[in-house]
Symmetry: C2
Subunit: 183 residues, 2 copies
DNA sequence: GTAATCTATATAAAAATTTATATAGCGAGG
DNA sequence: CCTCGCTATATAAATTTTTATATAGATTAC
């Protein structure tokens, strides 16, 4: 199960469940999403299996924190997951399912609007990702060569995110042009 | 639920559950996957809700076929799904999760091998998609303008597939170069 | 001061998905 | 003639994921 392995990866740095959720929303949104109601039970399970340790900490804001951290055993499981090779061909892109059947909409206008709406959203996301990338560039001299390993591999996923979302933006533009030419 | 809507889309042409599975493996593998054990119960559910009709047909090979077809009610639900706008931000890319934590592997060689393995697989898939695209080009004069609407929108998803997989191939190459430069 | 928002943890119920398994006819190869 | 593989349908069990809901202290905005 990938979510469990991602949790083991995240919690190499100690974090609360709430912090983990923030990681998903801010940094992983590119390639993974998870709800708190999924995260907490999985943390519990991993702790029961001895892959995570739990420490209670007082919190300045709100009730006490439970801080989770990956154990040696947990890291071993993470490594096994990565060593077994890249996990692919499991992707689900609902928007492409919708596109496949876009002809079910009764007017060309509606089809174009669908694509424009996707274009707008992807454009915004693309700009967001680019601004994060710019930030990283500013912060590191001789980017990306001087990045620490800890920052470099996460950056690779950001690079892929920019590429992927950029490809969707391009594709929307081509699709809109082609649809208009069909009139 | 996207799978149900995709089934409603596929079954605008009458098909058996087995045929539907083949569609997923051959044509939808780009953006969606589903097992037979998931497909059959969903077909049953959709038929119970009146979104699909069932006709039994004799088969030349093996036992009788149940042929499913989307009803008017089913098409209305499909249209609603598409009209509510593109469904995004739900994607899960396990390979990017692995990449994010690639530094957990203890040698540069293993990291490079991970990327090379991904590169190889994506390259093969890219070529496969390109050959399908070439085939379509050959079969249609004045491609893609003279395609029927029924063929055009599926082609759009193939175009996106080629773009996406091509982007991954490119990214793998860049990543491998960057990792080597870090030595 | 009080309402709204944020931090924080969690459970229940429903729905979706995966993995494993069962069955059975038919055709092809040896 | 017998085994293997393919077509075809299906169920059981386990796991994963989503959606909804509950609770409660602390902070911020008005």
């Amino acid at each position: 199960m990938s979510l469990q392995h991602i949790l083991l990866g995240i919690l190499q740095e100690p974090k609360s469940g709430y912090d983990v959720k923030k990681m998903f929303d801010e940094i992983f949104s590119n390639f993974w999403s998870a709800e708190l109601s999924q995260i907490y039970p999985q943390l519990k399970k991993l702790a029961e299996k001895g892959k995570l340790s739990i420490t209670e900490e007082e919190s300045s804001k709100g009730p006490n924190k439970k801080v989770y951290q990956t154990t040696q055993q947990g890291i071993e499981e993470l490594v096994e997951w990565i060593e077994q090779g890249p996990v692919v061909h499991t992707e689900r892109h609902a928007y492409l399912g919708q596109t496949f059947f876009l002809n079910s909409l009764d007017s060309t206008q509606k089809k174009i609007e669908f694509m424009q709406s996707l274009h707008k959203e992807m454009n915004q996301w693309h700009q967001h990702l680019c601004s994060i990338m710019e930030q990283a560039k500013k912060e590191t001299k001789n980017f990306p060569y001087d990045l620490s390993d800890e920052r470099f591999y996460p950056l690779l996923t950001l690079m892929m995110g920019v590429k992927k979302v950029g490809a969707i933006v391009e594709w929307c533009e081509e699709a809109i042009e082609l649809i208009k030419l069909r009139l």
